[in-house]
């Protein structure tokens, strides 16, 4: 299957605690490594900057999809979108879905990221090679400009 990534993790914490870690924009930012401008709101764009070392100038943009309390949180986002003027709604995005389930010891969290097949291969290829070689965030900006320059 080349279109999705699935992860499950058992967390020794109550569902409400995990829900907060996912949907409180500051908590989310601290483990996901992104600094967000404001709270997640279904249907609205969430913006910020990656705080992962080496990628500090890379913008982060997502459209929040569903927030079903303590059950499901999802958003679509564009890997390596870096141009603030870009109309990213025209570009394919991946969908990230978090589902939570109460277990005897805490919470079972499932994450599915899907939609990779739609990513333009050049963007995906470049994004991959950038990460594999630890390229600096500057290259993301430059390469993006070159890719889009007529």
């Amino acid at each position: 299957m080349t279109d999705r990534i699935e992860k499950t993790i058992e967390l020794k914490a109550p569902v409400s605690r995990v829900w907060r870690a996912l949907t409180d924009y500051q908590e989310f930012g601290s483990w996901f490594r992104v600094r967000l401008e404001g709270p997640f709101v279904p249907g609205q764009v969430s913006r910020g900057y990656i705080t992962h070392p080496g990628y500090e100038h890379v913008r982060w943009e997502a459209i929040v999809q569903k927030m079903e309390p303590e059950r499901l949180f999802s958003f679509t986002w564009h890997p390596y979108s870096v141009d603030p003027n870009e109309d990213f709604s025209a570009e394919p995005s991946t969908l990230i879905e978090f589902t939570l389930e109460k277990t005897a010891h805490g919470t079972l969290l499932r994450i599915v990221e899907s939609g990779f097949d739609q990513l333009p291969s050049k963007r995906r290829d470049l994004a991959f090679r950038m990460n594999e070689r630890g390229w600096s965030a500057q290259l993301v900006n430059i390469a993006h400009h070159v890719e889009h320059a007529p």
Binding site: T2, I5, K7, I9, L11, K12, A13, R17, V18, A21, E27, S30, W31, F32, R33, L109, I111, E113, F116, S121, R124, D125, L126, A127, F128, R129, N131, E132, R133, G134, W135, S136, Q138, L139, I142, A143, H145, V146, E147
Partner: protein, 97 residues
Amino acid sequence: MFSALGDETRLSMLARLVNGKPQSISRLTAGTDLTRQAVTKHLRVLEDAGVVRCVRVGRERRFELEPAPIDDVRSYLEHVSKQWDVALARLKAMVEE
């Protein structure tokens, strides 16, 4: 690796190579303030770092980005998958403390 890339000039050179076509030193020098010698020097650094490679086209040397792994879709997914593992480890540490 970082030192090979952490230079504006080299980054601009890489940007020119992003469209995939091998380019000669003359091509890469055109439109810059650099001498042919300087461009060659920068290309060597990128070559040593394994980011760029030299191909012979007739009698000319041309430079292109080092090719990505053959099965790039699967490799990309593996890479994203690893990033998730790292992020989830942080989430786990945060909620379980």
